[in-house]
């Protein structure tokens, strides 16, 4: 959690220094992300993130320099290996990847691996048709998937109460005949336990679960955003007491906290250096990975492009 927080701060700093063109801060959501991802069994489970889930990447041990490549503008999906990381490529379509978790869970069920999928999405995403279709599919086929909604109060400038009719994403679960739970998203232990229980149930053939982790996006939507246009400082202040790190620190000794800070600082330093050492992408990669084998037309375009460079 502390690594996630310090890394988030570092990313914002890097954006201010012009290293990152933009960044979507996760501050305030560390418990939700770390607590849920820590519950995964990385030998058989798989996670489907959005664009603000760096805490999950931290908890899953993903190569964070490679993860941050998306913000360095090197590669949209990040440079980490999704297969070995058990984390799907970063996905910027709000709601879009939720059905992927359902499909993956169906694959796991067919293969009887005992693996479960977790899908990360926001309160805003819950309005998308895809999320409904995903929950309905998961309910019909009783798939091992956890729908993990971080209700952080906002979708850019729109507060949850003008986004989520009825006020609760977890409450939607009943309509699909599946489990639904709200948890304090700023209590890392509560999140961990709820997620682990849902994953266990999923493995045992108990079907899908919706978890709505109630949290708060303390920072702006992205570094280009100006929250002053839609919420007050008091609004934001109200959540500082509930800072997930403060909540967690209460359960730890001062020494533990100091050690954690030291560890986080070391990790962040390493990542900073890793980012500095990151090579700009090879321009020829413009033509890579479109198909398994490039088509003739693409090779022709690549040839023309090379010629225009040499000209």
């Amino acid at each position: 959690m502390l690594v996630a927080r310090r890394l988030d701060e570092e990313a914002i700093a890097l954006q201010r220094q012009g290293v990152f063109p933009a960044y979507a801060p996760a501050k305030g959501q560390e418990a939700a992300q770390v607590g849920s991802a820590a519950a995964l069994d990385l030998n058989r489970d798989f996670a489907f993130p959005g664009y603000r889930d760096i805490g999950a990447a931290v908890a899953m041990g993903v190569d964070l320099v490679a993860y941050l490549a998306t913000h360095l503008n090197t590669w949209h999906g990040g440079l980490y290996d999704p297969r070995t990381s058990r984390l799907a490529p970063i996905n910027a379509v709000v709601g879009g990847p939720v059905t992927h978790a359902v499909g993956w869970a169906m694959g796991a069920k067919l293969d009887q691996t005992g693996g479960a999928a977790i899908s990360y999405f926001g309160d805003g995403a819950s309005s998308q048709g895809d999320v409904h279709e995903a929950m309905n599919f998961a309910g019909v086929y009783q798939l091992p998937v956890v729908f993990f909604c971080q209700n952080n109060g906002w979708a850019i400038s729109v507060p949850t109460e003008r986004q989520v009719a009825g006020g609760s994403v977890a409450a939607r679960a009943a309509g699909y005949g599946i489990e639904g739970h709200r948890v304090d998203g700023n209590d890392v232990v509560a999140v961990f336990e709820a997620t682990r229980a849902a994953l266990d149930r999923a493995r045992d053939g108990g079907g899908p679960t919706v978890i709505e982790a109630m949290t708060y996006r303390v920072g702006p939507h992205s570094t280009s955003d100006d929250p002053g246009r839609y919420r007050t400082l008091e609004d934001e202040q109200a959540w500082t007491d509930r800072d997930p790190l403060a909540v967690a620190a209460k359960q730890l000794s001062a020494d533990d906290v100091a050690a954690a800070e030291e560890h986080a600082a070391a990790v962040v330093r390493e990542i900073r250096e890793g980012l500095q050492a990151s090579a700009a992408p090879d321009a020829a990669e413009l033509f890579s990975f479109v198909y398994r084998e490039p088509t003739k037309a693409l090779l022709e375009q690549q040839r023309a492009w090379k010629e225009s460079l040499d000209a």
Binding site: V98, H100, F137
Partner: protein, 328 residues
């Protein structure tokens, strides 16, 4: 040698694909118990059990599920019931299916074949007669193919399913019941995706078509032959990648080309064929490439369908135009 309809040939291709590769999954609305509204998946559920299943009525989730299944190492062959109902799934098709391989830098394969009963001509309700090839062909990461005969259907569907990339497989609905004698077990020489085929040789002009319009062009070629005009008919088959070499070879010979499709004219795939042929064969061409297409109107109700679709008369008029063309 059995006589098979396109519907039967496709059914057999699915069956053989499932037999040869136990990672193949067939799913979509009504493809299981019912065997598909066109019976293309008939009997597969009985043969392959869980690997063939009905889905709830949600095209976006069908394609999103296919993405997740592919990520788990399956080889999904979803169906969308009719062309016009692809639109709800377009975000998944364009932003996810076509990009996951790219986004993951080649780590996650997307060997998905979307079967899509396509095109018009069967007097069906609204949204059951659309031609979406231009839209799909514009999307990097997708391949697009459409068979014109039962044997083509069999082999192209096998090839599409075996392909490591996502393929949109557009089945020409009005040809489902068209029959042909052929032996699916007879091996065919492998041709890479993006290869067209000359279905009738000629020298005065080239007709380029796909799907159900290939048969119509052959009919036009018969009519023209009565007047001594020898038309070459090219079945483009692969609508992405397009066989520009094949087209150029034909036009180098005939020096005139007419492209025929059902979709509306503006920004249809005929424009791409016209541009490609002109880029490659400008010196050879004796006339601008003619386009005979659906009109720029919504696909109409049955009563007006024959007026909308490229008729033999309209194609013949275009042939005449290109033959009589005099540089202004």
């Amino acid at each position: 040698m059995p006589e098979l309809s396109l519907q039967q040939a496709l059914n057999l291709a699915l069956q053989h694909a499932c037999e040869d590769d136990d990672r193949v999954l067939v799913f979509g609305q009504d493809v299981g118990t019912l065997g598909g509204v066109f019976r293309v998946t008939d009997g597969l559920k009985a043969k392959f059990g869980d690997r063939v299943f009905d889905t709830p009525l949600a095209e976006s989730a069908i394609m999103g599920t296919a993405v997740g299944l592919a990520m788990h190492g399956w080889r999904p062959v979803p169906e969308i019931q009719f062309d016009g109902f692809s639109y709800p799934a377009l975000d998944q098709i364009v932003n996810q299916v076509a990009r996951m391989h790219y986004r993951s830098r080649g780590v996650l394969n997307m060997p998905i074949t979307l079967r899509l009963p396509s095109f018009g001509g069967i007097r069906a309700p609204e949204h059951h007669g659309e031609s979406l090839e231009a839209l799909f062909a514009h999307v990097p990461g997708l391949k697009v193919v459409s068979p014109s005969t039962p044997s083509e259907g069999y082999h192209l569907l096998r090839q599409a399913i075996a392909d490591p990339d996502p393929v949109i497989f557009m089945e020409p609905k009005p040809r489902y019941w068209q029959r042909e004698f052929f032996d699916p077990s007879e091996p065919v020489p492998p041709v890479p995706p993006g290869t067209s085929r000359v279905v009738r040789a000629g020298k005065h002009a080239t007709l380029v078509a796909w799907g159900a319009m290939v048969a119509r062009c052959l009919q036009v070629a018969e009519l023209a032959a009565e007047d001594g005009v020898e038309l070459e008919v090219v079945d483009l088959r692969w609508l992405k990648p397009i066989d520009v070499d094949g087209l150029a070879a034909s036009v180098a010979k005939t020096r005139r080309a007419v492209v025929v499709h059902e979709a509306p004219l503006t920004a249809g795939l005929g424009a791409e064929v016209s541009a490609l042929v002109t880029e490659r064969c400008f010196g050879d061409l004796r006339a601008p490439v003619q386009r005979v297409t659906g009109f720029d109107v919504p696909y109409p109700s049955g009563a007006l369908e024959d007026e909308y679709l490229p008729s033999a008369d309209r194609i013949l008029t275009a042939v005449q135009t290109t033959l009589e063309y005099r540089r202004g």
